[in-house]
Amino acid sequence: MTFSPELEARFAKLLESYPTGRQRSAVVPMLLYAQDEIGCVTQELVEEVAHRCGVTPLQVDEVIGYYSMLHRKPLGKYHVQVCTNIACQAVGAEELWDHACERLRLGNKEVSPDGLISLEEVECLGACSWAPAIQINYDFHHHVTPERFDRLMDALANGSYSKKAS
């Protein structure tokens, strides 16, 4: 498989990061970084990562189900993750989640037919003091009300969404 030069550089650095003979350590980071580029963990990727890390495809395969961020099927271009854990729950996250399902017409872990948006109810994201929190791909959004959620989704739909950390 060929990847972008940036990802290849990242892989090279990863493989050098671990002690000699311990390149298996790079398996999980490689899968996640590659997933970000190619959309999901394919069988071809499993074999490629196994080859590069000097492990069997089975040793790569067995970690995929364990890590909630690794996916065998493509997510939407924008993966919308809504935290409903207790800190967010206390300030309206369950209502926000219901609103998100209704607005996007998606259930948990579903992808929109055009592939633009996927939705997931997630566990604590580490934004408890600025709840309710969501992540769009890796971007944090804090203090998200249903109205603010709608504005974000409008921006995703009309292409005006821009990355920012909060």
Partner: protein, 435 residues
């Protein structure tokens, strides 16, 4: 950046650079006490460093509150094996959002803390394990690491000491369990993050089967201050055996939720009323979950308490990771209990049967209860199940699920019973599902 206004009552010793312009750059760090502590430490013996840490009474900020100096002293230094320094930045305990700020605003402080740990055990490699969702922090920390190499604070022959030390970031990929230290090490080695049987503890057999110092991000971040100002000065900030300050993450029904750096032992009610502006909408306090979702809940009348490890342990809960969820009088405790156990059932790695089955059973019973199909006998069944999970698993996740559940039942039994009566009066009782 900060995401909430700081409070004038804060005592900032690990967060004081957060507001500086370009706070992540090495120039800012160097102009503000940066890499001074490591120079001091490089002139000290490992024994003297560990003694200074013991004097500071710094305790692990990840949850267990284990004395850091003692932890470092357990690492054998003459095994002939390489040794490792690992930072746990897998911050995932519900209620906790402090390591994020430390890495986002002051990554060099963390690197310096790890350098001092590395020098103490003559390690040559350190890894910062950052949860996968914190991708933007990996970019920030990687930039800081690159700067530290450029200026000779990482790499070969650091500051002419003849000692080499490399630091790398390592991303997680979504798993609360990897915050448990032995599961973190399994994950670092490219495997499923399932816990190891202990002993041996990571100090002796840790990363790559070698002696390892493994601490939380906030713990390392406190180390440079201690070596600049002395362990005694750090200890004096807190209460006996609970040195220094910590970042307290307040969420829930307060007017000003936020992360605030306060001395250990700061009174909980002052935190709620004076720093967080009291309960929002003029409501009354019902309860506080004081140390992340795994800590047993405190009822309002139990909240007149200092926030340190020992005071909270005495109250049969824990200071944990410093995540405080404040709940007002309108809070539905059954809903909170259900959401809590759903989390632990989702995150149980499945390795130990009491945890795998226990969290799932508890989730099913509490779901049934919440949906109106609870039975009177369920209340005792929940308590019994939780009791049978305690202390019967490789790692603390089973306890982390059982302890708060048992406390919800013990302290708010009336609410569970009211739920029962409410649902009885409005719905027919469905057949008891097999759990």
């Amino acid at each position: 950046m900060r995401y909430n206004e700081p409070s004038p009552l804060e005592q900032m010793i690990i967060s004081y650079r957060f507001d500086l312009p370009n706070s992540t750059s090495i120039d800012t760090y160097l102009a503000n006490d940066g890499y001074v502590a490591v120079k001091k430490a490089l002139a000290m013996t490992p024994e003297a460093i560990i003694e200074e840490l013991k004097v500071s009474s710094l305790r692990g900020r990840g949850g267990a509150g284990f004395p850091t100096g003692m932890k470092w002293s357990f690492v054998p230094r003459n095994t002939g094996k390489p040794t490792y320094v690992i930072c746990n930045s897998d911050e995932s305990e519900p209620g906790t959002c402090k390591d994020r700020l430390l890495m986002e605003n002051d990554p060099h402080q963390l690197i310096e803390g790890m350098l001092i740990a590395g020098w103490t055990i003559k390690s040559n490699k350190g890894y910062i394990f950052i949860r996968g969702e914190y991708r933007y922090l990996i970019e920030i920390v990687d930039r800081a690491i690159a700067e530290a190499y450029e200026r000779g604070y990482l790499g070969k022959n650091i500051l002419g000491s003849g000692w080499d030390f490399d630091v790398y970031t390592h991303t997680g990929a979504g798993a609360y369990e990897c915050g448990e230290e032995s599961a973190l090490l399994e994950s670092l080695e490219g495997k499923r993050g399932i816990p190891r049987l202990k002993p041996p503890f990571p100090a002796v057999v840790g990363a790559f089967q070698s002696p390892t110092i493994l601490n939380n991000c906030e713990t390392y971040s406190a180390v440079p201050w201690i070596f600049r100002n002395g362990g005694a000065a750090y200890a004096a900030l807190g209460t006996p055996k609970n040195g220094g300050t910590r970042l307290m993450c307040v969420s829930g029904h307060v007017n000003k939720p936020g992360v605030y750096e306060l001395p250990m032992g700061f009174p909980l009610m002052r935190l709620i009323n004076e720093i967080c502006g009291g309960i929002r909408n003029g409501k009354k306090l019902k309860a506080v979950i004081p140390g992340g979702s795994s800590s047993p809940i405190l009822k309002a009348e139990e909240c007149d308490i200092p926030l340190d490890f020992d005071s909270l342990a005495k109250a049969k809960t824990m200071a944990g990771s410093g995540g405080l969820v404040v709940l007002d009088e309108d809070t539905d405790i059954v809903a909170v209990a259900l959401r809590t156990i759903k989390f632990y059932a989702h995150e149980s790695c499945g390795w130990c049967i009491p945890c795998r089955e226990g969290t799932t059973w508890l989730k099913k019973i509490l779901s049934r209860f919440h949906d109106g199909g609870g039975l009177q006998s369920d209340i005792d069944l929940i308590g019994e199940l939780a009791g049978n999970m305690l202390g019967r698993t490789f790692c603390a996740l089973g306890d982390a699920a059982a302890m708060p559940t048992a406390a919800f039942i013990a302290k708010f039994r009336g609410e569970f019973e009211a739920y029962l009566n409410k649902s009885r009066s409005t719905q027919s009782v469905p057949e008891l599902a097999v759990v």
